[in-house]
Symmetry: C2
Subunit: 577 residues, 2 copies
């Protein structure tokens, strides 16, 4: 890792403040590549003249409708087409929806990466997995760093979020200043002194901000997010009340919450065991880099748990989202070697289920109650074990007020969130016509202080399935959907080349359609219909295979639907010998 | 439909009150057939001596993991095996999770059905669809009815819920009284005078209740559900503020909420159009039977909407759960003939998304905002457009207090809800050892006032897929899952019977695996490997087809996984000529 001292490479004339120095032919462009009109998969880019700087490169997990897809990445066609201009990737923080796509991006474009210590640590892990660590230039920055390219200078400011070491980014260009908030909240009583740098933000705003890109996740929620400290108080209370061992699950990356769990264990005189690969991994990175403070002798191994008094033990584990292979799920189903959940144990979910995960989480809670455990979950105010890491409406207004942007682009959120965020911007004085609600692929161009949104670049979802990136498209997904709903049936017949008569078959194989053993009659009828269809076509002197296949599909399709109300995929195979 | 006057068929000695008349050899049994440890698909049964009475027969929709399944039904094996004892199906109310399985049950067991007017109306619709109406005996009851069988007498009490005409059921038997609450809440200021009959409940409790079965849906929620009237006030407020047309979506079966929509339209001088098949259907049943009061000339047709001043129109439609084919979804995507959503229109979601439907609902809200509409959704207290139909903790305690049961069986809910409900029962004085948390298939037997839970009957999920009921099981679902994730590949080779040599093929077809046009090389390699495998086996003089197929599967499986990290289903087909 190298320190960020690339600068001084001949910056032309970026400026502080919104005052234009001179009219110019150059355009300042803001690209939404991922993360608007969706949650997850964030990626934006800023271009001025021949300099493009990329912000974040996240991935997201598919919903159930994308059958077999492992991961969704942003489309980087525009960056590939302009690769000689792309100067760097700057990363706001270390969450998957901001760093998950980095290895895939770097395989295509070997960019230098700029990020803070913890973020770089997490990125390094990914690069190692993908065998990219050696060939990647990593630059360590902090909120005081300055990074200069030909026509763009980057400065930074500290923000608060549910992972330490987050940055907002300021792009200084000859056209004016663009601010990208990253993910943020305003926690004024943060854990581990991770204060948001409000004074610096105010100074940036005072100097003039041409355009603000601010995150919109919680733009529908009124008020102000509670402080992370509140969670700490509730955790400590629960640890104090617990009569036997405590098992607490949260996001591994929420290092400040992990610290609060450590603190609660210390105060209640419990040793702490870490379960789950990502928990062990993140804690070790965070410890190494000074983001966590854990006294010597505090951590114990899983195999030591059963040897200790239950009231002297706490377990911090992964799986708060109900992930079936994570530690908590395995604990709840009795499948974790060395550790059992026993009656009167206390289990704490220190995280809310992300939409889509509710069912898996519920299943685990049910299992835990069945084991006789005391389970604390939900966000009822009395036992609140989770607060959001994203700014609520009053915080979004605070950011808008501090930055006083001329132009505003709400980012990171679905359309209704962007819409609500735009209303908030109007309410604090941004001109309605200066607000751009963009979609991925949209570009906002600013020239001579006038912004317009007229052009688009390629954008969308690139699907990862196994080793394939982008090869699975609509046709494959449509086939998978049909296969998933009603299965399929393969019909093989062998015809003699000379006479066109059936000399073998039909042989029929079905999967996922009906239970073959109970369907003798049905399969007899299928075969009979295939034979009749083929013979009829032969008699009519029609020999073209595609017509024969089409006829078989049609005849069988109708027959099967009327008999089963199912529409399996029908695959006729004709062998000619 | 016939009036409920079957009684007087020689009841032996049921009794009021919990005092035992004499020791007896007979057992009072309570069966959980569906709806405990799950939400939806409710079905219970009470047996005394040779009389079995079934309560409700619901269906539920599958989650995404049950690929291709249309509906889930309860297992009725026990009822079929004891069909000479099953006297009747009594239905508490007309929601799908209580009536959806009735046609399937009646096809197996032609039982008389007892229900209140609206409930019967909804059941009749289902029976008509399934061609069962003529052969089914339907008995109309109300809360004052008494229904007598040999050894069980049924009386009823009115409850409140999100559909009118709900009943709790009291089973009077020689062993004692069992109460089944159905779904309920206590709305003390209900719409349309649907008051819960608290005095009657108190009287039932005073007479002695041996066992109470009470619903548990909201057992995790503290407090008391707000009254439906609150929703009415907010609807009226929104109608008053709306500058152009108002579109409001709710559950068609929530007739009282429909009434409040009608009332708001009247007060704000708007005509009302109904969109969506189930809305039109339920409103017509409810009107016919006097549950709705709509002035003449109030309702307009869809095609009249565009001819009227927008501020004089309201639309009540289906689709509040984001169902893709329902009216609201089609309106939001501009696919509803005759009706357009225009800027400044107001759209109200008067329903909360049921878990699992959040994504579909969000997509519609996004579309509506894109159209420039004003959208009211969510359950924030200031614009609350929905209240739950299920009792919160204080109401559950009220029911327990009124009934004062000796034994308590929490029903209708997932395990954690049953667990919380049992804690509530303890808190109001039910003995812990007298509470039975059961699973579907469990039986609670009571003899001489002593209850035990020792035996089980068949129970579980029966899947409906098209016309098939119960034929799709784990094997088919496992195949569908594999097909859905990585697709499949069929390999056909023709061997000569005499020499065992390949005379045609391999021919390869894949679906849902890789995009065939871009995979020439891969398919060449596949074919080469198949040929090598077959030849090797021939040389080793191994001709058994299943061994050849197994070898092909194994070789190709490894090859494809190492090349694609995908595991398609591999189907080798060998033709011998």
């Amino acid at each position: 890792m190298q320190a960020a001292e690339r600068g001084a490479c001949g910056l032309r004339c970026y400026k502080e403040g919104g005052v234009m120095l001179s009219t110019t032919e150059e355009t300042l462009s803001i690209f939404a590549l991922g993360g608007v009109n969706e949650i997850g998969k964030n990626m934006y880019a800023i271009q001025y003249a021949d300099d493009i700087v990329v912000i974040d490169c996240g991935s997201k997990f598919p919903d159930e409708s994308l059958l077999g897809i492992d991961l969704i990445l942003p489309d980087i066609t525009y960056l590939q087409e302009n690769k000689e201009k792309v100067r760097a990737l700057v990363v706001t923080h270390g969450h998957e929806d901001h760093i998950g796509g980095i290895p895939y991006l770097l395989k295509q474009l070997n960019l230098p990466v700029y990020a803070t210590r913890l973020t770089l640590g997490l990125i390094e892990g990914k690069l190692t997995e993908h065998g990219l660590l050696r060939e990647t230039e990593l630059f360590l920055i902090d909120s005081e760093s300055e990074v200069e390219f030909e026509s763009i200078k980057l400065t930074f400011f500290k923000t608060n979020h549910s992972i330490p070491d987050c940055l907002g980014i300021v792009f200084h260009t000859p056209e004016g200043t663009v601010v990208h908030t990253g993910d943020f909240k305003f926690d004024l009583t943060p854990v581990n002194d991770q204060y948001p740098d409000i004074h610096k933000m105010a100074k940036i705003g005072s100097s003039g901000v041409l355009a603000l890109l601010s995150e919109s996740t919680n733009a529908e929620r009124s008020g102000f997010t509670p402080s992370e400290r509140l969670v700490g108080e509730h955790i400590e209370e629960a640890f104090t009340k617990a009569r036997r061992k405590v098992i607490i699950s949260t996001f591994a990356s929420n290092v400040n919450r992990v610290q609060q769990v450590v603190d609660a264990a210390i105060k209640t005189n419990r040793k702490l065991a870490l379960l789950g690969r990502s928990m062990v991994n993140v804690v070790s990175i965070a410890l190494e880099q000074g983001y966590l403070n854990i006294p010597d002798g505090m951590l114990i191994e899983a195999h030591e748990i059963n040897q200790m008094d239950p009231e002297k033990v706490a377990i911090l584990c992964t799986g708060s989202q109900g992930e079936p292979m994570a530690a908590l799920s395995r604990l709840s189903s009795g499948n974790y070697r060395q550790v059992d959940i026993l009656p009167e144990d206390t289990i704490i979910f220190a995280a809310s289920p992300i939409p889509g995960n509710e069912r898996n989480v519920s299943r685990i809670i049910d299992n835990l109650f069945l084991l006789g455990a005391h389970v604390i979950y939900g966000t009822g105010s009395s036992t609140r074990m989770h607060v959001s890491g994203h700014a609520y409406q009053e915080e979004l207004k605070l950011m808008l007020t501090l930055m006083k942007p001329k132009y505003f682009i709400p980012i990171h959120g679905e359309f209704r969130m962007l819409h609500h965020h735009s209303l908030l911007a109007e309410s604090v004085g941004v001109q309605k016509e200066n607000i751009f609600i963009v979609s991925n692929g949209d570009v906002v161009d600013i020239q001579n202080q006038a912004a317009r949104q007229t052009r688009r670049i390629p954008a969308g979802n690139v699907y990862v399935d196994g080793l394939g990136i982008g090869d699975v498209g609509n046709i494959i997904l449509r086939d998978r959907k049909q296969l998933s709903e009603d299965g399929m049936i393969v019909i093989v017949i062998t015809l003699s080349k000379s006479e066109g008569k059936i000399i073998s078959g039909p042989d029929t194989i079905s999967r996922g359609f009906v239970y073959a053993r109970d369907s003798d009659e049905l399969f007899k009828e299928i075969n009979q219909r295939v034979i009749t269809t083929v013979n009829n076509l032969q008699e009519a002197n029609i020999h073209r295979w595609n017509i024969v296949k089409k006829e078989i599909k049609q005849t069988l399709g109708q027959f099967l639907y009327s008999h089963t109300k199912r529409r399996p995929m029908i695959l006729p195979i004709i062998i000619e010998i």
